[in-house]
Symmetry: C2
Subunit: 420 residues, 2 copies
């Protein structure tokens, strides 16, 4: 059993979270949100701010080919597998100050605390600021962790364009990355990855737990459903002579909610809808809506989606609606390392923090590392479950608790003798 490390310097962490949040694009004075899209000026300012913060913490700083920023605390055995922590520096548009940022700055804080209190680790300890995770600028996500773990390739993003028509390759080059002479992002030296993150949900708050230990990240399916009926006059078409795409969509969305509520821990959402012609006195001829369905078990997720689509076919047939269902995202659930999960629970018990295992309903960089090396995720509560919003909030004490758990776990992984 390892020693516990208690992190208490809430002022140091709070100042740096504010400092990083200040590196943001703003839509005028009243914009409280953080907007930091990949390879933009505010993104560059943020990464350089983090590089300075890493140096201040006594870490050796380097960059990789796609712009991931890495701070290293060298181990007694520099060849030993690296113990890595970190998260992403980019944000959604008008996002919060903690999503991603907390995992990087909490990681730097943990390494600083370990270096100051415990000196040189046995194995190298690193903290990474991934260049991108959200997919907010280009239609691709996990650009940083994907390139590091080999599921994405830095040469492969060339055709992807942002809203202004700038390609990912051009944006990368303009910000000084993507050069042949820069170190490859792909890593083969990883021993473990631990990501610290805000929950972005209400579970810990509602259950009054201080720490969430992620068992796994849910699998996701996303679909676009297009219904084609007849756009007719809302006044002259009797109810029994209609082929109303909106009424069909409404029945399908009600069915989605009903079926999802019956299945424990499954979530299902229609977030987007487009109606044509979208005129009050015309029966909608075409309605397109999205499905976002997530569950922690691949079999259940797959069965649910198949069953739902059958039900939708019944509804469409009964109503005489044409229907096209297009899948556009499918990920399987990703389990975290059971060994690291149990280790994190012991760490929480040692510090005296209440905790619970949980699945992450959101995607995270950690899911890219799970197939590559033992991976764990630590959550702290999010007030009201609010995220991707300027109203994102976790108290300084809760943020410090997360860093204590992270530092203690990293201590066990990097400083202690291995069991073997």
């Amino acid at each position: 059993m390892g020693e516990t490390i208690r992190f208490g310097d809430t002022a140091w962490l709070g100042e740096r979270i504010d400092g990083l949040a200040a590196r943001s694009d703003r839509d005028g004075e009243s914009d409280r949100g953080v907007t930091r899209l990949l390879y933009t000026d505010s993104w560059k300012e943020a990464q350089h701010y983090l590089a300075e913060t890493m140096k201040e913490a006594g870490l050796a700083v380097r960059w990789d080919k796609v712009g991931n920023l890495i701070g290293r605390l060298e181990g007694r055995d520099p060849q030993a597998p690296v113990v890595l922590t970190g998260s992403h520096v980019d944000t959604v548009r008008h996002g919060g100050h903690l999503d991603g940022a907390y995992g990087i700055l909490g990681g730097i804080a943990a390494l600083k605390k370990l270096k100051e209190s415990r000196g040189t680790p046995e194995r190298p300890l690193e903290v990474v600021s991934f260049c991108e995770e959200e997919g907010s600028r280009f239609p691709i996500a996990y650009w940083g962790s994907g390139n590091m773990t080999g599921s994405l390739d830095w040469r492969g993003g060339g055709d992807l364009k942002d809203e202004e028509g700038t390609s990912l390759a051009a944006a990368m080059e303009a910000s000084g990355f993507g050069r042949e002479d820069q170190p490859d992002s792909r890593r083969y030296d990883l021993g473990a990855f631990v990501e610290l993150h805000i929950e972005q949900g209400v579970l810990l708050e509602r259950m009054a737990k201080q720490i969430g230990i992620v068992e796994g990240i849910v699998g996701q399916r996303r679909y676009s459903v297009t219904l084609r009926g007849e756009a007719n006059h809302a006044g002259t078409t009797p109810m029994n002579m209609r082929t109303d795409a909106m009424a069909g969509a409404a029945e399908m969305i009600v069915r989605l909610e009903l079926l999802a509520a019956r299945k424990a821990s499954l979530v299902a959402t229609t977030g987007r809808m487009q109606v044509a012609p979208n005129i009050p006195n015309v029966i909608p001829g075409t309605v397109e809506f999205t499905l976002d369905i997530r569950h922690d078990n691949e079999g259940t997720l797959s069965w649910f989606c198949d069953y739902l689509i059958q039900e939708y076919e019944d509804i469409a047939n009964r109503r005489g609606l044409g229907m096209t269902i297009t899948p556009w995202l499918a990920t399987t659930p990703v389990p975290m390392s059971l060994e690291l999960t149990e280790q994190a629970e012991r760490v929480c018990a040692g510090i005296g923090l209440s905790n619970r295992r949980m699945f992450s309903g959101a995607g995270h960089d950690a899911q890219l590392f799970a197939p590559v090396c033992p991976t764990a995720m630590i959550f702290v509560p999010s007030r009201g479950g609010i995220s991707h919003s300027p109203d994102e909030y976790t108290s300084p004490e809760q943020l410090a608790d997360g860093v204590s758990v992270l530092a203690s776990l990293l201590y066990e992984l990097a400083y202690e003798e291995t069991a073997s």
Copy 2:
């Protein structure tokens, strides 16, 4: 009992319907629709084309202050109340060639036929091309018939603006109308109004009837319903912790359809929906949708809307959604003249045309005249019920049938000795 007039010159009518449809704005070569918005160049060309057609038919042509075009066949008693027919020259964007146009050209055809075959009427006979009915350019409808019947005033449209910011007053002036020296639109000399129109619904086609005789025009209620929930993460918010504005809207739209189907001849439509933030992986925080509800009985219509709103309040309360329901249109059902309706039925029987009484689910110029003078409406079938579309279609023979009924009814009203 009157004589029956049979109109058979389908070529004359067809050529002029095509001629009028050619006076249209076009979005490129492939645009088959008719777009003729109030006071635009294509509108002016259309009215002048109709003026020439009226002259060709032997009618005396004049214009009124708002741009209504009138063709008159003088009566032996020029002071007798005028028997008026006609419809509107304007269209929706990308509309069809018959909506409005048929009522004007069918009216001219009827007067031409009467003049040629029966000579001078006892009472003046007029056909009008109303400048506007659809509300497609400015946020006001029935600008022509409203000014003629006194429910609208030509000075009152000044603040209304089109999408380009041009005011109704400025557009009217630019097209040569709205001058002090032009004859007032308001009429006090009307003895009867008869409007010929395509059905814009499927009832006559499904019932295999040649003529529809309108008993009345339905009353309408329109509302905007705004639901406010919580925009949360689609992955991290369990189903039982959501306040999902989309799921609430879907339940309300399903309820609308269910309740409407139980009430004979009531129609209810959600034609428009706006979702915010409208992102696939975010639970919608706000959904706004429209209700368009119509029925022929004011008591039923009013009761239905009250009941529906109560149900919606229950749904919103159960789901914890904030709700605002804003009414923005309320018209009461308008009965047509029972005497003229029965007269039209006798005319159909005399000619040998199958017919049925029906309510109009769409609004028409006739509803403005019903409170002012005895008013009737004659429908001919619409193929597939399609209207406000380039696919609008009624066969030449069906169009001629409608003109025969109109001419026969106008003959009784304008040529025969009055019963008194």
